[in-house]
């Protein structure tokens, strides 16, 4: 066994020693870091560094120091390839879904801050008004108190003293009311700002809780795997076989598994994000189509109403007026006892009523219909501009997401090839491992 492998087994695992007992799920819950073969249960820093920050006990601050648990990259020339870095495997684009989750708290904090400050700005005039009312109430109480003091030498039953006392009490009641309203208002404004930080803490606590819950679930699954796998002769044999395997090789296998898994996960997230963007873009396009359809309908309504208005003004009303004039002439030509006289009078009245309806009801109504539909068309045109801008932005986002997803997908598919190439190149240039 090489020194490196021995050190790894001593520090990082129990391989080659007595078989570790299989933990039950309960054990896993109580002491998750005491799982068998757990190489570094203390992921939490415990040693203060120069800056006062606690850093992990086995953190490789200087890989050249003997006895330190070092990374494979630091100790094995064959593993010095740079293609191991996530940046090269995954590209510079981090999955947007994860990014949104990570910036979520900060973004919500910014939105809440803006909203609260805007609301406080809106509430400031009311605060000033209530402050003025409070100030006036205080001055009124002072005046009433001074007036009461001026008649303090009189008997308590004196009518003037009783009246002034009553007025003072009334002023004090108003002062109390004004003070309560002012304090309530200012307290609301103050709490609005204070709640921003409280909400940040709440979201942070919720995030911690979620991560803890996921950890508990993962520990249970791990314990279940151990239960199913069982302990026995085979595991002892496995340990015996791997006892002389260099630590670097085992760590490399672990890293390959981790990198492959995370790159696949990120590619899947990016594909999901891309699909979300496609759906949003589709919704934007639908909104634009609906907007145009409504605008066409409104324009048609406006044109129809304008036509009716025009017809009323140029044909219907002038014809009715012309008819009215004729009837009036006929009426003027008749004697009062003529049998047709009453009939023409009735016709004149009917025509006058009709003209009145045209001028005072139908004309304003259709003018209003035309006006409101023209306004609606204008509003829809404005929102159409916004929707087109929104669609353009969404298309850009979708294109970015597609590019990102393709990049991550290709890299997830091809990273093994790239890694293999790097390993071969490194193997050609690196000295042979002393323990092989």
């Amino acid at each position: 066994m090489t020194e490196k492998a021995r050190r790894y087994l001593d520090v990082g695992s129990r391989l080659g020693t007595e078989p570790a007992p299989t933990p039950s799920p309960e054990d896993a819950q109580e002491s998750p870091t005491d799982m068998p073969l757990s190489p570094a249960p203390d992921t939490i820093p415990t040693q203060p560094n120069a800056d006062g920050l606690r850093v992990p006990d086995n953190l490789p601050t200087d890989p050249s120091l003997p006895g330190e648990l070092t990374t494979p990259e630091a100790t094995s020339p064959a593993n010095n390839e740079t293609l191991y870095t996530d940046a090269e495997i995954l590209g510079k684009h981090y999955p947007v879904r994860q990014m949104i989750r990570e910036i979520g708290n900060q973004r919500v904090h910014a939105i809440e801050s803006f909203t609260a400050r805007l609301q406080n700005v809106r509430d400031t005039p009311a605060k000033l008004r209530l402050g003025l009312v409070l100030s006036m109430a205080q001055r009124r109480v002072a005046r009433k108190q001074a007036k009461l003091d001026a008649v303090n030498h009189l008997s308590d039953r004196h009518i003037l003293k009783r009246r002034r006392l009553k007025k003072l009490q009334e002023a004090q009641r108003k002062l109390t009311s004004a003070d309560r309203k002012y304090k309530t208002h200012t307290s609301t404004m103050q709490k609005r700002v204070e709640n921003i930080d409280k909400n940040v803490d709440k979201r942070r606590a919720a995030y911690r809780k979620e991560l803890r819950a996921r950890r508990e679930t993962a520990l249970s699954r791990r314990a279940m795997r151990h239960e199913l796998r069982g302990e026995g002769a085979s595991l002892i044999e496995v340990r015996a076989v791997l006892k002389d395997v260099p630590k670097e090789h085992l760590e490399r296998v672990g890293k390959i598994a981790a990198v492959a898994y995370t790159s696949e996960q990120r590619a899947a997230q990016a594909r999901k994000h891309e699909q979300t963007q496609v759906n949003r873009e589709s919704r934007s396009q639908t909104a634009i189509n609906t907007n145009r359809r409504k605008a066409q309908e409104a324009a048609k309504e406006a044109a129809n109403a304008s036509g009716i208005v025009e017809e009323l003004k140029t044909q219907t009303i002038p014809k009715a007026q012309e008819s009215l004039q004729k009837l009036r002439k006929e009426l003027a030509a008749l004697d009062g006892d003529d049998p047709a006289y009453i009939n023409i009078q009735v016709q004149i009245q009917e025509v006058e009523e009709r003209i009145n309806i045209y001028e005072n009801r139908e004309l304003p109504y259709w003018e209003q219909v035309a006006h409101s539909n023209r306004e609606r068309v204008a509003t829809l045109d404005t929102s159409h501009t916004d929707l087109v801008a929104d669609l353009t932005a969404r298309q850009t986002t979708r294109n970015t997401a597609t590019t990102n997803a393709n990049t991550l997908n290709e890299r997830a598919q091809a990273h093994a090839d790239a890694l293999a190439k790097a390993v071969k190149e490194a193997a050609n240039t690196a000295p042979a491992e002393p323990n092989n």
């Binding site: 606690r54 940046a87 708290n105 803890r212 090789h249 598994a257």
Partner: protein, 99 residues
């Protein structure tokens, strides 16, 4: 891009200097890799362990193919170990931040 990002730590209320963050992220990934291989080892039979020991000169592609063929739960193992590690960070976030 590291698994343990500065924004993730910030969401947990942990603010570190760039240097301290790099150290923690590096430690996080090293620990993850070690725990993953230890869990993988638990899934192996003696024959598979023998095969694994002979893969020292194999390319990463071959190792990955071997892992997928011989450890069907490898994705779940990595996911669980990531969750466990992040949970430990969350569990001790106040202690990390306070130091």
């Amino acid at each position: 891009m590291p698994l343990l990002t500065a924004n993730l730590l910030d969401n947990l209320g942990i603010s570190l200097s760039e240097q301290d963050y790099q150290l923690l992220a590096e430690h996080f990934e090293t620990t993850l890799n070690e725990r993953v291989i230890n869990e993988i080892v638990l899934e192996l039979s003696p024959e598979q362990a023998e095969q694994l020991s002979h893969l020292q000169q194999a390319s990463d592609e071959e190792v990955l193919a071997w892992l997928k063929a011989n450890v069907p739960d490898v994705a779940e193992i990595v996911a669980d170990e990531v969750d466990i590690l992040l949970g430990e960070i969350a569990e001790n976030s106040e202690a990390i931040n306070g130091n």
